[in-house]
Symmetry: C2
Subunit: 534 residues, 2 copies
């Protein structure tokens, strides 16, 4: 009697079949481990995904089984994305930059039954083979003799099984700097909803009009969901393989006329430095999504002024699939000057629908969105983790909210800005100093390439800030000059009581500065002079 | 043990609460029936929606009850959208352009328990009052004394009920030109998924960066879902009330700095003619979505060349929520000349993910997507109707597909192009002539403002085409000139055997030409000369 809308589960297999039916000739380009370029189409990705699905079933992979990958962004990895989830198994992407013991830990914890890997990681695979508990029955190198031979006997027709959209689809471990890695388990429903969300014009805005190059690795939060969204919208997809350095990226971007890039700040600094060194300009790129860690204003300005490229500053975490917020200007901001606009773009941005956010203080009281009060950022939504894989209830999941571990503000227009990680905030004389704002101020100083602020123990103030600086190539900047630069930019008692130059900052597996390492490195540091609060 | 992603139903109440939390100061502007402008914010819309929700419960409206509206696009109608669906009742939007007997039919069929109306429709309301079966317990005019007084005693805090996302949310009857109107029932799930889809950069691309003015009425397929999507993305929304003529729209567009418009071709022709007559140019608009009926290439060119506005040609139906396809160019099309690009933009476009399409011949065989074969277009997806409200199984719903009644092609890139309505196609000597292509060729003739092609009975060929033409103001075009213009554009046997001038074409309740009326008007027409197939 009630003719409601049709029933259709939101499944990952429907993404690749949609691409096969309606985007069949759109190209998927990838750079192989040997540097050669592989060209195929979405239809070919679909056909080979179906063959792999059959091969997985032949190997005895069952619904719910975990199938691991340690691989670059390339077409075979893309096929594995669709085939493993498509048959109802769980795609477990492993970050090869993890320490070997962590890697063995997660293979054992996930009880992976098969492992597909790029040959660049052969040594890591040996570690897994020899040190893991042996749940992995099949090790398949992504080569002609390995992977392609597995597909060889299989038909390219396959009816993907239909099941509940709340079935687990993929698994990604957070490379936590403390404690054991924690697994985040996504579902078909969460993945499809997230794909719809990131395609939004106010989010990453992925469309068929784009040529999309995700530099963010497919072993890191599903490459921010870009492979799924690209299949959904029928965009040309360019997968860079292992070539993430400036020259390799630039060559690929120009050759394939890429319009849309996604990645972490460090990758973009490397690309921009390369472009400056050869005097080149990005000729086809229209937008760059920057996430993973905060986009420094200097980065946003460099893309906009040197290359005419729009920057989308986005925020998310492994636990949020990852998209949480994206920073785009509202119509009313058109009247602001460039400086004021930049201040908005440098915020992490507005929540995308599906993500609810709130700020709470140390006692759990909910704070106003006034753009001034800082509090612990909590989120919830249909693509936010409710807990961790095979873990008892975790302290970060309380009352239906996920505590991100970030300290943030939210302004009346809804723009969220992260001022610190809870564990990185510098607690000095009972007040908080934002390490991120100190770093931003430091990086705005000419001659400074990178800066990291950490709180070091101090007998009177609890902690005092140290600023660790990497000079720009050839710059002759002094600590006095940096200090003088900071004076007008931050409160007086925030001024770092020490500034130290280093050759490079310690960077973790996901491209973030490891503050813990810096704190260890400078433990016992003696401050020259101290300007505490009050 | 499995910490999957969080459970959260996709509910319409979550859209307005999201807007209240994160887009609270973004403006919602509407023109009242008296021409005055009303300004409020999304937060105020949310607060008043909650008060209305309480008032509806006070009036005894229960989950599943139908609550009707006969109203323009304005803020009170927007509040009703969120409040009625939000409490689990069903929003039944009624098209005031329906014939009074049809209007009474659908009020009775839906068994509406309340009816909210703009005072412009007072006479229609009298008809309903006196002729309907009397299910309507409350008639509420959208005025201070009526609607606002209803909200007056209520608190603005309200906890929206949580329920299954597959609950019915709204109801819209198709104003079928034949037979009784058929009700399409949407769900919360279908509405939220559709909102995510239309926000896509490759679809209508609604974002917080836009100032959106839906000219498409809120009584017609939920204004294409724009009110929901605008709340989702936090865009400024401009609701034009009853002023849909060129001068009224132009004034509002400029005053509110509108960037994005949505509506049917006839509205745009009126606007463009007005702009030409006063020598004005749209100064803020960036894109116009054209749907409801095919966007003539002349319309696309006029927007692009005269106003620098990008046209998004979209297709959908009441049964498809409505978005089915949208036409945007692929990167590879950049190399084409303007003429070839226009030919692609004039197609109805590529399916948005969620919508599956296929072509079948008269015997139900599935046809290839080669861009040449024409067939009956069928669609399916989570926001496509599975049947009609309170109707037995309908012939248009078979094997999980909905038969659109359109004749179309789909090319290898996925672009669908409608060549005719099944019932409007001109069947001549066993072959099909596309009435739409004839019209498009006719409208490309200088001096022709509008053209409609219909098939009229012919003893030898079954049917032969008649082209009915409205001249452009002041044009001195002749039938011979039109015929000469058509010769190079269509196959010889397609050439209309009669061309007749009329003052205006009969337009239906949703802005489409009523071919049925034309066929009646010209029944018994004698063709001057006949050039049948072969």
């Amino acid at each position: 009697m009630y003719g409601l809308t049709m029933e259709q589960p939101l499944l990952i297999s429907s993404l690749i079949e949609f691409a096969a039916r309606f985007h069949r000739d759109v190209e998927v380009i990838s750079r192989n481990v040997d540097g050669s370029i592989h060209r195929c189409t979405w239809n070919e990705v679909a056909r080979r995904s179906r063959r792999l699905a059959r091969a997985l079933l032949r190997l005895g992979v069952k619904e719910g089984d975990r199938v691991a990958t340690i691989a670059w962004n390339n077409y075979r990895h893309l096929e594995i994305y669709f085939a493993v989830s498509g048959i109802g198994a769980v795609l477990h992407t492993i970050n090869p930059r993890l320490a070997p013991d962590q890697l063995v830990y997660i293979v054992d914890h996930a009880e992976d039954v098969a492992l597909f890997y790029d040959t660049s990681f052969a040594k890591l695979i040996d570690v897994v083979r020899t040190q893991s508990r042996g749940t992995v029955r099949e090790y398949v190198p992504l080569t002609g003799e390995g992977y392609d031979a597995l597909l060889e006997p299989e038909s390219e027709t396959f009816d993907w099984p239909q099941f509940d959209e709340r079935t687990a689809s993929s698994l990604c471990y957070t490379s936590g700097t403390e404690g054991e890695p924690k697994g985040v388990l996504y579902s078909h429903r969460s993945t499809v909803l997230h794909s719809l969300a990131i395609g939004g014009a106010g989010a990453l805005g992925i469309s068929g009009a784009d040529v999309t190059l995700p530099v963010v690795p497919m072993f890191h939060v599903n490459a921010w969901g870009v492979p799924y969204a690209a299949a959904m919208v029928g965009g040309k997809l360019v997968l860079p393989g292992p070539g993430l350095d400036g020259p390799s990226l630039y060559e690929l971007i120009e050759a394939e006329r890429v319009t849309s890039l996604m990645g972490v700040p460090i990758v973009w600094f490397n690309l921009l430095n390369h472009l400056r060194s050869i005097g080149a300009r990005l000729s086809t790129v229209q937008k760059v999504t920057v996430g993973g860690s905060a986009a420094p204003p200097t980065l946003i300005e460099a893309f906009e002024h040197e290359h005419g490229v729009r920057v989308i500053h986005a925020w998310g975490m492994t636990e949020t699939s990852p998209l949480g917020t994206a920073s785009i200007l509202l119509p009313k901001h058109a009247a602001l000057d460039a400086h004021a606009q930049l201040a908005i773009k440098a915020k992490q941005g507005r929540a995308v629908f599906g993500i609810d956010m709130r700020l709470v203080d140390d006692d759990g009281r909910v704070l106003d969105h006034d753009g001034k009060q800082t509090g612990h950022l909590q989120v919830r939504g249909p693509w936010v983790a409710s807990g961790y894989f095979r873990r008892p209830q975790h302290e970060s999941h309380v009352d239906g909210w996920f505590a991100t571990g970030d300290i943030a503000t939210i302004d009346p227009d809804g723009y969220m800005q992260i001022t610190d990680r809870s564990k990185d905030v510098i607690k000095s004389g009972g007040e908080w100093i934002s390490s991120i704002e100190l770093e931003r101020a430091g990086m705005a100083c000419p001659g400074v390439a990178q800066a990291a602020a950490v709180g070091l123990a101090h007998p009177r103030w609890g902690e005092r800030p140290l600023l660790v600086v990497v000079k720009a190539p050839g710059a002759a900047i002094t600590t006095d000059a940096i200090r003088a630069h900071l004076v007008p930019l931050v409160p007086k008692w925030w001024l770092p009581d020490g500034i130290e130059f280093v050759e490079s900052l310690p960077i973790g597996a996901t491209g973030k500065v490891l503050k813990r390492k810096l704190r260890e490195q400078f433990a016992g540091y003696t401050f020259a002079s101290v300007s505490g609060p009050g």
